[in-house]
Each structure stands twice: as C-alpha cells, then as structure tokens.
Symmetry: C2
C-alpha cells in the first residue's frame, strides 16, 4: 500500500512537558537558563508513541512550531506519514486521543498532499502571551499565565507594540544559537488588550526566531513597568544586539494560537 501524508491540528497544555521536542543546550544570556532535562517527556514523543500504538508502526510527527517547555498550544499543526488506510480518520483520531494523556488533544486529522510540510507550509502564525495583572496571583491558572502584580501602563505598551509591526531584523529579540540564515522577520500584528486583570499580547508574523515572542512580551511588560519607553523599541530593533533588548518572559504565559498554511 502507498504511504500517504496527513495533517494534524493539535491542542496541548505544555505544563508537564519538555516542550514540543528536546532543545539543544546552549550558552545563555540575561538569565535565560537552558531547560532542565529530568526525563520529562516531550509533546512530540508522547504523540508519536500514541499514534504508533494505534497505527501499528513507528510514526514520526513533524511539528510546525517547536514550542518551549511549559508553552501551550491551541492550534499546533504537524504532519505524519502512514500506509495504514484501514482506519477511518475520525476513528483514528478518537483512538489516539483515548491513548493520549488528558492534556494533549488531536482536534483534526486530514489528508495532505505528499509534499506538504508543516514547517515550510506555514505562512503566518499567531501567538498570545497572557499576563495576570492583579495584586494577588490566580491560584487556578498559575501555570497558564504570568503573574505581574505591579500596576502597568497599558497605553504605553500599546504604543510600544505598534513599533514592533513590520519587517525588521529581530536579532535584539532572539535568543542566540538559533542557526537561522536570516534574522529578518515580518510582524503583521502586535496588539495589547486588557479585560479586568487579564492582559493579552497578541503577535502575528510570518515566522518567529527562538524565544522571539517571549522576549517581545517581556520587553513590552517592561515598557508597562516604565523600565523602557515605547520609543526605545525602534532603537532596540536597530541595535541588532540581544543585550539591548528586554527580558525574556517566562514560558507559562505563552500560547501558540494558530498557524495559517
């Protein structure tokens, strides 16, 4: 039987995982510690193992975004190949979901072209960074957002966010060691909205460098705390130097919202 390619749409809570896949350990800047390796499973291997059990052969799952340890996804996209054609896709989806832990869910499985590649097919991605901005933490969602108790200047954050939009070299907002050919990316949208104590930074772009969303979010929060001015953003971008950008926000506030193919 011919091998065919399929596309996966996934949601997961990253709290108990070592990210989508194991990251290489590299030199760190500004207290950006390499993630500890304690034998914690990755999303990718957990998923591949459940799919392999159901399909009856080893499976390789290729994900569009390599989310960090502790980062969540509403709409991760991945692809895999199989020559198993006996199982209807919805039955396959249910059987794998039944095998997966409660914090990972396959939302859709659909047939894809033979040359579909979840990594290169991504045209744009949107991330959300959630900040819980209240004097007291939220004890129910502490692993799903970043608690900042200090009052924040949201108006200044909105102005700073607008400076991120456009085609820029994001070297100042990227963890070194990425081995990418270019550090130029286009940010289509960068918005800050708040509803009660919940502050959301939404960022859409054609691609993101390592830790780029977390450094953008961390820097915008520092603008909110008046460590930086909104006008510092163009200066940071122009410097193309990671030591000039702001801090890296912690992983638990970051959500991969969707990926457009």
């Amino acid at each position: 039987m011919a091998t065919r390619r399929f596309k996966l749409l996934l949601s997961y809570r990253g709290t108990h995982y070592h990210g989508w896949q194991q990251q290489p350990v590299l030199p760190t800047y500004k207290g950006e510690l390499p993630p500890p390796d304690c034998g914690i499973p990755t999303i990718q291997e957990t998923l591949a193992s459940a799919m392999g059990h159901v399909l009856g052969h080893p499976v390789t799952v290729v994900g569009s975004s390599r989310t960090d340890a502790g980062v969540h996804a509403k709409g991760q996209v991945a692809h895999f190949d199989t020559d198993q054609s006996q199982i209807p896709l919805e039955n396959l989806r249910r059987a794998v979901n039944h095998r997966l832990p409660q914090d990972i869910l396959i939302r859709e499985i659909s047939p894809a072209a033979d040359d579909f590649d979840a990594i290169t097919a991504a045209k744009s991605k949107r991330y959300q960074y959630f900040v819980w901005n209240a004097p007291d933490r939220n004890p129910f969602f502490s692993d799903l957002c970043w608690h900042r108790w200090q009052a924040m200047d949201v108006a200044a954050m909105k102005i700073a966010a607008a400076h991120m939009v456009g085609e820029h070299d994001f070297t100042s907002f990227c963890r070194p060691g990425h081995h990418r050919e270019t550090t130029v990316r286009t940010v289509y949208q960068c918005q800050v909205s708040s509803r009660g104590p919940q502050l959301v930074i939404g960022i859409e772009g054609n691609g993101f460098l390592w830790n780029m969303v977390r450094i953008m979010a961390g820097t915008l929060v520092e603008v909110g705390l008046e460590k930086y001015l909104p006008e510092d953003i163009p200066r940071m971008l122009a410097a193309r130097d990671r030591t000039v950008g702001g801090s890296t926000a912690p992983p638990q506030g970051l959500w991969l919202q969707w990926i457009k193919m």
Copy 2:
C-alpha cells in the same frame, strides 16, 4: 501577650493536594476508592507550615470544609490563633502568600471573636460542580472539570435538581462512615445551568455530608444520560440507602464556591 483568633479566606487548586486534611481510609461502596496516600501534602499542613514560618510559632489552621483530594476552593474559610501582634495583617497575608505554593492563596485575613469557629459558624455553603460536555475533552482544564462527551438532557437535569431542594435525609447521597449524628440537611438551592459546552451544577445548603455534593452531581449527570428519571430523585431520598443513589462524580469538577458565616 494575649492570644487572638483570626479568620482566613482562601482559594486553592486542589489538583496537587491530598485534600484539605488527611481522610480516614474506610470501606468503599460502588467503586468509591479511598484516596491513595503517596506522601502528597494536604492544603491544611501546607498552609500551617507557611504561617508557622512567618509567625515564628506552630500554627493550627481549622478549616470550615474538609474538601477531598483534587477538589478546588474559591472561598474556603478557616481560623487560627496567634499571640503575634507585631505584623500588620496585610503584611502577614503577603508574607504567607509569598511562602505558599502558586496554587494556594490567602485572599483575606481578618480579626475574629475569641469563640469564632470556622466549622460551627458556617450558616450555609455553596458548591459548584463543573462538567465539560463536548465530544472532545478540554486539554487545558482537564483537572478543573469532569469531561462527559455524551449528549445530556439538561432540561431533565434541571427538573431532577429541583427535587433535591428542601430538608431531606440525604443518606442515599452520602458516603457511609461519616459518623455524623444526623443525615438530615437542608438544600436551599440546586441549579443546573449551561453555557456552550460548560455545564454547572450549583448547590447551596446548610451543611453537607461526606461526598454529598459529588453524589448529587453524579446522580444529576446520570439523569442527563437518561439512566435515571427526574422522578427517581424523591424515591432515592425516601430510600435512605446509599446503594439506591447514583454514582459519585470525580473530585476534579468540584469547587467550594463560598461559605456564609
């Protein structure tokens, strides 16, 4: 210095705790397993330890409701005594919250009368039971609600819920081994509401027996699944026999909403 009594208002996510306090292990009915003891801390001992560190003396915290392992609280009430009067209450609250894990929060500390008792002072309590009723589970909140994928007859559940209201002997809705003098309780309100896939059972009463809310919720869900009819509820109440009541819903959907003193 004189010892004075204080009242605590608390929120916690019960996922990683062995309940408010260690429960005795007793014979089980209908698959109601005793909670496993794996050296997991209780909310009470975690709280007492953090307060003891800040106050500089051993602290006993008495909670109004002994929530089970995995059960959450928005508004648990407790009391404790101290002769420490140097620390302003808001500073004490902040210092203890700083020592506590992220999933426990002291919302208020206030002075109480010397004879205030969090257990006997409770006039009414309200619990909420959250059901996620959709074909797919919610991977982000799997430890905060009960996933039931089957379609449910919410109208029948509402009628059944109304039958729970009033003064009744709740023996059929109570886990044996409670050692309470009477099994008669008054339920002031029992409501079922739904918004999208989220179904909430809200129950207010003057007091609750062991597992009473979970058995009421489990039985109402079974009415929704047409295992029972709404008219079975009066019959179950009249039987005063646990084997006649419905199943016990799992702990993760249960939230102690508030306690009126």
